[in-house]
Every structure is written in C-alpha cells, then in structure tokens.
Symmetry: C2
Subunit: 410 residues, 2 copies
Amino acid sequence: MFEKKYISQAEALQLLIDTVKSVLPSENIGIEKGYGRTTSSDIYAPEDLPGFARSTVDGFAVRATDTYGAKETMPAYLTVTAEVLMGQAPGFEINNGEAAKIPTGGMMPRGADAVIMLEHAQVGAASVLEALKPVAAGENVIRADDDVKKGDPVIFKGRTLRPQDIGALAGLGITVVDVVRKPVVSIISTGDEIVPYTERIRPGQVRDINSFTLAGLIYRDGAAPVRKGIFRDDYETIRQALSRAVDDSDISLIIGGTSVGVRDMTSDIIASSTDGKLLFHGVAIKPGRPLIGGVIDSKPVLGLPGHPAAVAICYEAYVRPLLLRMLGVKSENVFRKTVTATLAKRVASAPGRQDHIRVRIEAREGGYVAIPVMGKSGLITTLVAADGIVIIPENKLGIDPGENVMVHLF
Amino acid sequence: MFEKKYISQAEALQLLIDTVKSVLPSENIGIEKGYGRTTSSDIYAPEDLPGFARSTVDGFAVRATDTYGAKETMPAYLTVTAEVLMGQAPGFEINNGEAAKIPTGGMMPRGADAVIMLEHAQVGAASVLEALKPVAAGENVIRADDDVKKGDPVIFKGRTLRPQDIGALAGLGITVVDVVRKPVVSIISTGDEIVPYTERIRPGQVRDINSFTLAGLIYRDGAAPVRKGIFRDDYETIRQALSRAVDDSDISLIIGGTSVGVRDMTSDIIASSTDGKLLFHGVAIKPGRPLIGGVIDSKPVLGLPGHPAAVAICYEAYVRPLLLRMLGVKSENVFRKTVTATLAKRVASAPGRQDHIRVRIEAREGGYVAIPVMGKSGLITTLVAADGIVIIPENKLGIDPGENVMVHLF
C-alpha cells in the first residue's frame, strides 16, 4: 500500500495545530457587531435580571396568606386599593386584605408576594375582589434574580455568539464585548494556466475557482479572507508572494501547483524561508493527497492541491480546525455541522488511506439517506451537487449500504 | 382543554404563508456578493468546462493504440517529440509512435487520446520512451465537457448559494447572478416598560432584548432586519409605526404587549387597517400562545409575545418559513438545522397543544443526548443555555427518556 509512506490526516492536522501557540489577541466591539464572533473572556452579569420582582400573568398582586382556603363556593374577599402600571415602580404597599391590579411583566408592589390570575378572581362593587382559588407565596411571580443573578457567569469564553446570546447581553445592559480578533487568511493562487474569473479563457487555461470557494468558506467560519491574486509558477514570484502573505496574515494558503515540479517548488520555498520549516508533504487522504504543510515565522502555511474538490475537503480537514483553534472556540459544536444518514450504496476505500466521499442527502421515511456523488476530484459539479462528505477511516475497506454514517456538511 | 379554542401551529403558519402570493422580485448582483443569497432562475453553463481535454496526471500524452500489449518485460517504444506547457495550447500534433511530456492539468495535444503516468514510463537516450504498461483511450484524461457541458443546468433556481457554488460560477466565467431581493423585516418593539439596551434601568423597566435577537435571526437567514425602535403602548403611536413598517418592508413584527389589553390593541390595529385583516389571535403552542397573525396590504404582520424564549420560538415556527417562501428556497435543507438525539429525561405536554422544549446537546458514546433546559419562558438564560428545541406534537402527552427526538437547532 503505497499510501503508507504518507502521514495520516490526524497526524498532519496535529502538526499544523501545534504551530498555533495561543488564541489570537482580543478586541472590544459593540454587541451589535458581535454576531458570529467568539468571546475571549467569561462574561458576568453586572446586575440582577429582571432586577425587580415581576408578575408573569395579568391579575392581582396580593399577600398569599390572604387567599388560603379560598374556593369558588367560599371566596376570599380583598379590597383592590391600587393598580400597577407597566414600566413604573408602584408607589404604594399592599397590606393585609389588599390587592393591586397588575399586568403581565408589571413590578410587584411591596408587601405582595403572589399574583392571582384574572381568571381566578372577580371584582365586584366598591372594589371588592373575590379570590376563587388560593395562591402560594411566589406563585405567578418572577423574582428579581430569577433569570440572572448579579455576578453569575452568563456566557463563557470561547463561545461563538448567536442572536439569542446578543439578546441576553443587551438585556443585561452589556453594550460591548471582548471577542477574539478575526484570523486573517491569505489565499495565493498559482499556476501558469490560471486566469481571473472575469476573463475569457483560451484553450489550455482555466479560471480561478478555488480562491472564490476558499474565501467563502473562510468568511463563513468567522475569519477574514484576503485573495492575494494569481501568481506565475516561478520560484521567486511565489516566494515573494508567500513572504508578504505571512507578514500580513495568520494563515497562508498556496493553491495549485498540481504537477510534481511545481509542488516541489512550494515545499522548497517553505523549507528555505527564514524561520521556515516543512512539516509534511503528502497525506494519506483522498482527495487531497498532495497537501503540503509548513510553518514560517510560527504561522501555518498550507500548499493545497489545485483540484476544487480537494481544496474544499482540505479546507474542512485542516484550515477550519486551525481557525477554531486560533479563535479559541471551546466546543466546536460538531452537531451543527453533521447529520446522521443511511448510506445508499457501497463505497470502497483503500486500506491505510482516509477517503472523503462526497454525498448528497435525501429525506426518506424515517430519516436521511446519503447518496454518493461520483466524479473525479477535479470536477466542480460534484461539489455543487454534494451536501457534505462521509469520511471512511484508514482502517476500513469501505462502507456497506444501509450502514449509518455521519455526514459532515459543507 | 382550554387550548382547543386556539388554532394549531400548522394552521396558523398556513394562514400566514397564504398571504405570500409569490417569490419576491429578483436583482442581478456580482457573484462575489452572492454568498448566502438565493437564486431566482436556473443557471446554465455558457461553455464546456474545462473546455479542453486535460491530463489528470504527470506523464506522457500518447495514442493509446501505440501502448497495447506493453509490459515491464516488453515495453512499447515511443519517441518523445515535444512538451506541453501549462496554460498553453500545444502547437503540435502527436502521430503514431510519438509522445509528448505533459503535466497534470496540461492540455492534450491533437492526435493523443491517453496519458501514460510518469511512474509507468522510462525515458532513455535520444528521447526514447519505454511504456511499461498499456493505457486505454481516454485514460488519465478529462474530456472538454467532462465537468460541465455547455447548455447544461449548473445551479437551479431556489438555491441558497454556498461557497462552492460561487466557485463553480467563477469557473464558468459567470460573473453576475440573478438572486431574489432580500426580504425586509421591520421590528417594532412596544411596551411602556421597555428601554433601549444602552440605558440604565429603573425598577419596573426592562431593556429591549427581543429586537436584538430577532435582528440576528433575520440576518442569519439571509434577510434584512430593520429595528424601528421602541414605541409606547398607545393605539395611535403603534398604528402609525405599523403603517410605516408595512409601507417599508415585506414582513412586520410587533413585539410585546404581553398584557391582555395591549394584545387586544395590536389585533384591533391590524383588523381596522385599510386592507387589513386579522387572521388569528392565539395558537395552541407553548411558549408562544398569544401570537397574533394578520395581513395588511397583502403583507404578513405578526404580533409576537414579549417573552424572549417565545420570540425566538415564534421566529423559527413562523417568520423563518415566511422568509424561505418569499425567497423561493426550493428545499429548505432541513437537515442543516436539525440533529437527531436521545432525550435524557421525560418531558410532559398537554394534549391539544404543541410544546416546544428547549434542550442542550451533549455528545455521548454512540450519539447525541438532548437534555431539557428548564425555566420559565421569560428567562433569557434558558435561551443562552439551549442549543435547540424539541417539538412535542399536539397528539402526544410527552416524550419518554431514551426516545429519539429531532432537535431543531437555533
């Protein structure tokens, strides 16, 4: 098995991850810009929430003891002495035998400890309230610190903020938040055959597909892509482009150079850079075997094979994990990117090699089915047709139809 | 069961969906802005891709018939007459007995129909090539239209564009794309107790949480949120705000008015608007029962209860489906928003009511576990702690521990 001379995907990833010594520095931003950013410190509640005892229903604020034993046939009688208005602290107190009309969300008056629902009360002449059921102390009331207690942690560091997380911060009056700076990822397209997507192509040329796909994936994962342009297959040209990219960014990606000579050039450039080291050249993974991993100036550098499918798969297998590490994302929330499905037909794999099979997903009675999308790894149409990939580990020779598989969505 | 007087979530959603007569108009944008937008027409390939026959390996372009019968012990002999350069159309032809050096991705010269891999060839003196294995016609070659055939559909209408879809368009030289205009959603916060998130609160007041959560959810789903501000609980004030919102946007959301009187005001305003109609008031769902649905000027209007959890759940249950309908998203790709898990503990539900249970997800040996997050629906912390919701349908009285459930992520 000739793949044995290559390291495994897990080893390759670990070597790259090890180049990232720490989470990137943080910056302080307004919460309205926080969606999708990752917190860099734990966030504690500066105050109780809601901050005052509130009614959860429309009804009457009372002292619970005044209602004990009340029933429809023998109501408890109270006197409605006041009304709570929304957004205002009641300027009165509830004494024994008294009740105050209160709306949902209204602030509990001093003295009252429970709320009788509108449906369980009748108000007659002279503001006499008949309570038809008893209420317990605390019933239909949210306490001042029921939602959040001052000083309690609200959001831990390493969380990628969702809309409801931003809402929670707004609710606590937290207007700014410390987040990890966005990782900057440079994309260097190489190849004498590559032309910009806006150009008419001549025979022998292809348009730059990969920098578009990569930029979108990087953006989606909360980082900042920089498309550096298309460079000729020339040692000095690529060396200079890479040197500038390493200066400007946190991760540098060189795409292309599919032929042996050009691939060797990329690894030579990394190995001979000041503070540069080649980590590996070739991984037992398909597609994506010709991957080059290195480090320059303590920053990861990847040489990606130029096939569009290999680019997308190498992104998910190496670049995304690197980004999550730089962002300090605590739990990757893997379930957000996966779905369990039943494989529709057998796929084979070579021993000692990790195979990444593109699949599309169909909903069927009782669950999802993953249908392999066949095609050479150079074909963009398979990427468009696929919803995700199924990974066949090194020690498996294939997966049989009907087996449950985890589909990694992309 | 008093919920019976309310319509079901499915009926409520259908009434709202029926107000959307067609997909929104389309606009033409550059593909670099296309990520996350939804196509409004089918896209066909303007040309073949790759557009020329290419080698998939480093090797020698030959006529396959010249290699028939070749083996290590009895190679076929050919003469290397030329070399293909990347990005250039070869200016020569391959005749019988001839071979041309070719890199991966290089254009096949006329006359050649297969490529011998470098590993299966030896080049000796006087450019003599020994082919150690035969190749079949077409072997190691991608045809001009192998990836995409001119005129074939590449991406159908109703697709929300992913990074790899944009890459495919770039590869075909498609620089602009027709997408559905982003739905505009107005958010009107109401309530005398509501203050902006930047303000210090006094007892009885709460900060505006919901417009933040909603804006983030709307943005995430590819639409344009407009936070209209906070309005007092006053008929004429809210009537005017709603009237402007309907003029400016495709969907109008009024949040708050949790007390009975205010809720009635919202439904009165909808019902008494010119071209306005109240569709329903109250749905058999928890949380989110006090939902108001209406239509003004053929545009959906929703009155959402003010509890943060109810707002998030009503968004997923009604607003998101409305947005997908306006965008013409073909398949909702439901699997992207769900994960299958095992319920960790029993949750109960009232008959005739659809219960939405917030859960957090933990990875365990063999799969995911959904752990109910308990708390009153007004509590923002349960939303922060939850990864998604499990829906208990109207006809179920609960779900037992160990049952498989579908978690709708949010």
